[in-house]
C-alpha cells in the first residue's frame, strides 16, 4: 500500500514537471513571436509597474 502511495506521488510529480515545461514553452513562443512589442512596452512602463 505504501509503495503504491509513493509511486502515485512521484508520477503526479512527473506530470507537474512536464506541465511546468509546457507552461514555459508557451511563454517562450509568446516572447519570441511578439518580442519587439513586449520588450519596448515593458521598458517604458517598467518603473511604474514595479510594486
Amino acid at each position: 500500500m505504501m509503495g503504491v502511495v509513493i509511486l502515485i506521488l512521484v508520477v503526479i510529480g512527473a506530470f507537474f514537471v512536464v506541465a511546468s515545461g509546457v507552461w514555459v514553452a508557451v511563454a517562450l513562443v509568446r516572447a519570441i513571436s511578439v518580442r519587439e512589442t513586449i520588450s519596448d512596452e515593458s521598458y517604458q512602463t517598467r518603473e511604474e509597474s514595479s510594486d
Binding site: 509503495g3 512521484v10 512527473a14 506530470f15 512536464v18 521598458y43 509597474s49 510594486d51
Partner: protein
C-alpha cells in the same frame, strides 16, 4: 542507424536553438545585455532560474544519488528548495526594488561604497569563471561519452556554441534559450521516468518501495552525520544568489514577479529532485549494482529506451549544461563591466556593451582552458559553493536589511570569508572535521561584526 538518428536529433536541436537565439535578437544597449531591459515575465524568470540551477549535478548527479542512497538525498535537496523560497520572500524583492542596479556588486556598492562593489565584482567574476569551468567540463564529458570525441574538442564545441549566442544576445538571449532548454529537459526527463515505470519496472509499486527502502538504509550506512550537515549547509547556502540568479531577480518586470519566480523555482526544485531520485531508484532493478553514479542515467536510458530515446537524452543533457553555462558567462561579463570597470571609469553605453561582449569571450576562454583542471563535477561545484557563500552572503544580506551598513564591515567580511574558505578548502583541508564552508561563514560573520564596531568607533572618533 543508431549514429544516424543521434546525429539527426542533435542537428535538429542545434537548428531550433539557433532559431530561438536569433529570435531573441542581438542586444543593442547595455541595459538589454545586462538586464534584458527589466522586462521578464514570471514564466521566463521561473524557467530561466530552474534551467540555470538544474545543471549536471541536479540531473545526472541526483539520479546517481537516488540509485545509491534512495530518498535520503531528497532531504539535502529540500535545503535547496528552502533557500530559494527564503530568497524569494526576503531578499529578491529588496534587490529588485533598488534603482539602477545591474548586479550584486551594484547592490553592494549602493549599500556600502565603490571599494566594496569592486571587491564583490572581482569575487563574482572569479566565481562565475569557476562555475563555468565546471559546466564546460560536464559538457565535455557528455559529448565525449556519446560521440567519443577527444575531451578538449568536446569542451570547445560546447563552450563555443554557448559563447556565440550569449556574446551577441546578452541576458535576453540567455533567458530565451534557457526557456527552450528548460522545456526540453522538463518534458523529456519525466517522460523517461514514466516510460521506465510503465514498461520496465519489475515487481510494480511494491518492488519500487522495497528498492527505495534498501537504498535509504545503504545511504545512512555510508554517510556520516557530519557529511550530511555539510551537504545540507552547502545546498542551503552555497548557491544562494550567485550572480546569474541575482541577475534574474533584477531583470524581472516587477518585484512581485521577482519574489514569485524564486518561490516557484523552490517548489519546482523539490518535485524535480523527487523525480530524479525516483529515476535512480527505478534503475536499481534494471542496471548492474556497481554502476558508477555518473553513468546511472546514461546506462538506464541506453538499456531501456529505443535509439531515438537515447538521442533525445543527449539533447536533454546538452541542454542542461548549456542553460547553466550561458547564464554564468553572461553574469560574469556583466559583473566585470559593471563592478570592476565602471566604478573607476565613466563609460558610454556602447563601450559598456562592447566590454561586456569581450568579457563574455574571455571568461568563456578561461572556463574552457580551466575545464581540464576541474577535479570532478560535484567536487568542482562544492568548491565554488564553499567560496561563494562566505565571501558574499553575509555582506549582501546584512547590507540589504540594515539601515546604514558600514563599508569596513563589508570589506572585512568579504575578504576574511574568501581567505578562510580558500585556506581550509585548498591548503588545510585536514585541519578541521567539518566542511570548509562552515568555519568560513562563521569567520565572515565575525569579521562583519568586528568591522561594523570598528567602523562606528572610527566615525565617532572623527566627529
Amino acid at each position: 542507424m543508431h549514429t544516424v538518428s543521434l546525429l539527426a536529433v542533435v542537428i535538429v536541436y542545434v537548428l531550433v536553438l539557433t532559431f530561438v537565439a536569433v529570435r531573441a535578437r542581438a542586444a543593442r544597449e547595455f541595459a538589454e545585455f545586462s538586464l534584458a531591459k527589466r522586462a521578464l515575465p514570471l514564466a521566463l524568470v521561473f524557467g530561466s532560474l530552474a534551467a540555470t540551477y538544474v545543471g549536471p549535478g541536479f540531473s545526472i548527479g541526483f539520479v546517481g544519488r537516488g540509485f545509491v542512497s534512495g530518498f535520503l538525498f531528497l532531504v539535502m535537496g529540500l535545503a535547496y528548495a528552502v533557500q530559494n523560497i527564503l530568497v524569494g520572500l526576503l531578499v529578491a524583492p529588496r534587490l529588485r526594488s533598488l534603482k539602477d542596479c545591474h548586479t550584486l556588486g551594484d547592490a553592494i556598492g549602493q549599500k556600502y561604497d565603490r571599494k566594496c562593489q569592486f571587491v564583490a565584482g572581482i569575487i563574482s567574476v572569479g566565481l562565475c569563471a569557476g562555475f563555468a569551468a565546471v559546466m564546460a567540463k560536464a559538457g565535455g564529458v557528455v559529448l565525449n561519452d556519446i560521440f567519443d570525441l577527444p575531451i578538449w574538442s568536446s569542451v570547445v564545441i560546447i563552450v563555443g556554441v554557448t559563447t556565440l549566442y550569449t556574446t551577441f544576445g546578452g541576458l535576453r538571449a540567455s533567458v530565451i534559450t534557457d526557456a527552450f532548454q528548460f522545456s526540453a529537459f522538463a518534458i523529456l526527463l519525466p517522460m523517461a521516468f514514466l516510460f521506465v515505470v510503465v514498461f520496465h519496472l519489475k515487481g510494480g509499486a511494491a518492488a519500487f518501495a522495497g528498492e527505495a527502502s534498501t537504498a535509504v538504509k545503504n545511504g545512512f550506512a555510508s554517510t556520516s552525520i557530519v557529511e550530511m550537515v555539510g551537504l545540507i549547509a552547502a545546498f542551503l547556502l552555497g548557491e544562494t544568489l550567485i550572480p546569474p540568479y541575482a541577475n534574474r531577480a533584477l531583470a524581472s518586470r516587477t518585484t512581485r514577479i521577482s519574489r514569485n519566480g524564486f518561490i516557484l523555482a523552490g517548489i519546482f526544485s523539490t518535485v524535480w529532485f523527487l523525480v530524479m531520485i525516483s529515476l535512480g531508484i527505478a534503475a536499481r532493478g534494471i542496471i548492474p549494482e556497481g554502476t558508477s553514479e555518473d553513468h546511472v542515467l546514461l546506462d538506464l536510458v541506453k538499456s531501456t529506451m529505443p535509439a531515438c530515446g537515447y538521442a533525445l537524452l543527449v539533447v536533454v543533457l546538452v541542454s542542461v549544461v548549456m542553460s547553466s553555462l550561458d547564464s554564468l558567462l553572461n553574469a560574469g561579463a556583466v559583473a566585470f563591466a559593471e563592478d570592476v570597470v565602471k566604478p573607476f571609469v565613466a563609460l558610454k553605453d556602447k563601450t559598456s556593451l562592447d566590454i561586456g561582449r569581450y568579457a563574455t569571450v574571455v571568461i568563456a576562454a578561461i572556463a574552457a582552458a580551466s575545464a581540464v583542471a576541474v577535479p570532478g563535477i560535484i567536487r568542482g561545484l562544492l568548491i565554488c559553493y564553499t567560496i561563494w557563500a562566505p565571501a558574499i552572503l553575509p555582506a549582501l544580506i546584512i547590507g540589504l536589511w540594515i539601515k546604514r551598513p558600514c563599508p569596513l564591515a563589508g570589506i572585512l567580511s568579504m575578504g576574511v570569508g574568501t581567505i578562510v574558505a580558500v585556506v581550509f578548502q585548498f591548503f588545510l583541508p585536514e585541519a578541521i572535521k567539518v566542511p570548509a564552508i562552515i568555519p568560513a561563514l562563521g569567520a565572515a560573520l565575525l569579521a562583519y561584526v568586528v568591522g561594523h564596531w570598528l567602523g562606528r568607533k572610527l566615525k565617532v572618533g572623527r566627529k
